[in-house]
């Protein structure tokens, strides 16, 4: 739905999405418990920039821009985009 088997860089994943790591961007991520197959929540991601993710145990990991760009993930779930609601004469409608 969101990406092919190679995945997308983690800093392209939307905020608050759950992702599965396909390929960690550096050996250091493995030492931080982020390996192929690990599931993490992307807290904040900036395109081409650093990313904050939350491990399954709750710890928050900061990925620098280079590591984030080289870390490929597949998105498991992403938050629904906010729908704009317009005020009509008779109350709120989607």
């Amino acid at each position: 739905m969101y990406a092919g088997s190679e995945g997308i860089p983690i800093n392209k994943a939307p905020n608050n999405s759950m992702v599965r790591i396909v390929r960690p961007g550096s050996d250091r991520l493995i030492d931080l418990g982020l390996m192929s197959g690990s599931i993490v929540k992307v807290l904040i991601s900036m395109p081409c920039g650093p990313v904050l993710v939350q491990r399954e145990d709750g710890s928050v990991i900061v990925l620098d821009a280079d590591t984030a760009s080289n870390t490929f993930v597949t998105i498991i779930s992403a938050p629904e985009p906010a729908r704009h609601r317009h005020r009509w004469r008779r109350g709120w409608r989607p």
Binding site: S26, R28, L29, I30, G33, I44, P47, V60, L63
Partner: protein
């Protein structure tokens, strides 16, 4: 016969309160020295309990023995090389048991006696963590000690455990089952002649530190064959080993740790990490902190200066010493050096809190600042904002504070950037020149140095994008976000005192020596020793070595209309920027109050603007240079100082001709 001094290493994951524990274990004095061949500081203390001597070395924090950064490599090397220490105390955060156990397993596998300290137990309890300490201790086969370092809780027990560390034993080294890799680990350990299976595991994982320690032994055909076979069996050995270790960690956590539901991200984290408001709040907070510190310090610095000026050193020395040269050496050389050093103490002490707070607090602010798209172009400039803002007060504490940065490369780059920021002392000179030649544009002119300083900072920050051997390679800068804690406790005060003490002991001697050398250069010349009378006579001052150097610099600045008196006075700025104005007054034969009129008479508007630009950049004072040397090394300090001088000269010429064109119109 065993050494009667118990030697212990303290290792741990970053931000777990390791330094606080070390600080609490130690007395008042902590010896800090650079690790051989690096600019990484290692703290060491020695004390005795009941007549038993203990020597403790505090290693830099690391997540694993496969280190990425220079600091981590120092810790990994010390642990892996299995020196003559008796055991290792592994300090971990009770808030992050996974990362703690991951490091602990690697240390335990080396077979040395290990004690596990789970610090921040109070925060962990509040966050809903429950530990089965006894069960964990039995499973690991080592003592596990819960502590709250900031309150000193559990540290007496730790002290007693350290004394008995030789009796601890090596613990359960087979806590991880490497399955298919086990036979290769055994074969390799035998082939390398090491009893430590952990060393063989790290070698199989291609750990760069073990590779370095093994040297030519890795070229042995049999050893290479084992490594090759292991690779064939499991593929990527490094990932396989890490996966097995993480499995063991999770198994231990499931058995002995229960976690609450309280989220690890606090409301403050959410505030600072907010993509919309976080950066603005962070920048305002950083700026407010730096400004508050330096505003609060101003009266203290003034008071200290007044006190030093009021001391009748002249008359005290005169009552004991009659020889004019020796008297001048003591008063103008040694005492002047000591007074210079004392003047810096408030700045260093005041600059230390951000240093100590950094890892626990500012990390959030820095992350969010660096998250912005605008930071992509000059990422290092924005990320290091706190240090650059601090540098505008005084470069010395700002450079000292960079020691808190985990990445050696970032530390070096930031320490190289800071001298480009004009400190308050340089700013006083700039303000006086501006007030003399263009009082109506004073507001605009005082902004000029900061605008110009940005050019220097951007030049240095651009180094981060190219691969420069002398700065070091780019390393991944990923880490676990530490808990947001305001460190208002006794250990924090002790840490601030330690930073100040470290500055005094390491930089102080060099500063005093340099001031004495400058004194000698200002009372002697090519014709020999002129004597202290040269310090009060413009004509004699011109004949001294400093006068000669100042005159040598004059041809560089005279084409842009800057008189030789300024060149000579700026040379004195290498000691302390405050003496530039008094030297200038001496050279023009006026009181300091009349300096404005002297400058107005002898310098044109374009030259004054060029002089402001030159003063902004040309060089920091000796204390800054010595502190810079501690962080980046001698070679880079020399390179950066020459670069600063050349940029200052180039920009001064450019500014002069632009100003000339504008004023001619």
């Amino acid at each position: 016969m065993r050494n009667d001094v118990i030697k212990v290493l303290i290792a741990g994951v970053p931000n777990c309160g390791k330094s606080t524990i070390f600080s609490e274990l130690s007395g008042v004095t902590i010896n800090t020295a650079n690790y051989p061949g690096t600019t990484v500081s290692i703290n060491k203390v020695e004390y005795s309990i009941d007549g038993i001597k203990v020597s403790i070395i505090d290693l830099p924090g690391t997540y694993s023995l496969r280190a990425g950064m220079v600091d981590e490599a120092v810790a990994a090397r010390e642990i892996l090389r299995g020196g003559d220490y008796d055991g290792i105390v592994v300090v971990g955060s009770a808030l992050d048991p996974e990362q703690t156990l991951y490091l602990l397993i690697q240390v335990m596998e080396l077979g040395k006696p290990v004690i596990l300290v789970l610090n921040m137990m109070d925060l962990a309890s509040r966050s809903g963590f429950r530990y089965d300490i006894e069960g964990l201790s039995k499973a690991l086969g080592i003592p596990v000690l819960p502590t709250i370092a900031v309150r000193g809780s559990g540290l007496d027990v730790l002290k007693n455990m350290i004394i008995k560390i030789r009796d601890v034993g090596q613990g359960n080294v087979r806590v991880v089952n490497y399955d298919k890799l086990e036979k290769y680990i055994e074969d390799l350990a035998n082939a390398l002649g090491v009893s430590r299976g952990g060393f063989a595991i790290e070698t199989l994982s291609d750990n760069p530190v073990t590779r370095e320690l093994m040297g030519n032994l890795l070229n042995n055909d049999y050893v290479r064959q084992i490594i090759e076979n292991a690779r064939k069996e499991v593929g990527d050995v490094s990932s396989y080993v890490a996966a097995m270790r993480w499995n063991a960690v999770r198994s231990l956590i499931n058995k002995f740790v229960s976690k609450g539901r309280k989220p690890l991200i606090s409301k403050y984290d959410e505030l600072f990490l907010n993509p919309k408001y976080g950066p603005i709040i962070s920048i305002l907070l950083l700026f407010a902190l730096a400004e508050t510190i330096f505003l609060a310090l101003e009266p203290l610095v003034d008071l200290l200066s007044m006190f030093l000026d009021s001391l009748p050193i002249d008359s005290i020395v005169a009552s004991y010493v009659t020889n004019e040269l020796i008297k001048s050496l003591i008063v103008d050389g040694i005492w002047s050096g000591i007074a210079t050093l004392i003047d810096f103490i408030p700045y260093v002490f005041g600059g230390c809190p951000p240093n100590s707070v950094h890892r626990g607090f500012w990390v959030d602010c820095e992350d969010i600042i660096s998250n912005r798209k605008v930071a992509k172009t000059h990422w290092y400039t924005l990320e290091r904002l706190i240090y650059l803002i601090a540098g505008s007060g005084c470069n010395v504490p700002a450079i000292t504070a960079t020691k808190a940065m985990p990445s050696a490369r970032d530390r070096v780059l930031t320490a190289l950037m800071i001298p480009y920021i004009p400190c308050t002392a340089r700013f006083v000179i700039i303000s006086l020149i501006a007030a003399a030649v263009m009082p109506q544009l004073m507001g605009l002119v005082v902004v000029l140095p900061y605008a110009v300083a940005l050019i220097g900072v951007i030049i240095i920050s651009s180094f981060s994008k190219v691969r420069l051997r002398f700065i070091g390679r780019s390393v991944p800068y990923s880490y676990t976000l530490p808990p947001l804690i305001l460190p208002l406790h006794k250990a924090f005060i002790k840490k601030v005192w330690h930073y100040t003490y470290e500055f005094l002991s390491r930089a102080g001697t060099l500063i005093v020596i340099f001031v004495v050398i400058m004194w000698f250069l200002s009372i002697s010349g090519p014709s020999g020793v002129i004597g202290p009378k040269a310090l009060g006579s413009p004509a004699l001052l011109k004949q001294t070595w400093l006068g000669v150097i100042g005159n040598a610099m004059a041809p560089l600045l005279s084409p842009i209309g800057i008189p030789w008196q300024f060149s000579a006075a700026l040379v004195y700025g290498y000691i302390f920027k405050e003496v530039v104005l008094s030297t200038l007054a001496l050279l023009y034969g006026v009181e300091e109050g009349g300096l404005i009129y002297a400058i107005k008479s002898f310098i044109s508007l374009p030259s004054a603007i060029a002089l402001i630009v030159f003063t902004t950049f040309y060089s920091p004072c000796i204390a800054t240079l010595i502190t810079e040397r501690q962080v980046v090394g001698l070679r880079l300090t020399v390179v950066n100082t020459i670069l600063q001088f050349l940029i200052a000269l180039g920009l001064a010429y450019v500014t002069y001709y632009i100003a000339l064109m504008i004023t001619l119109r």
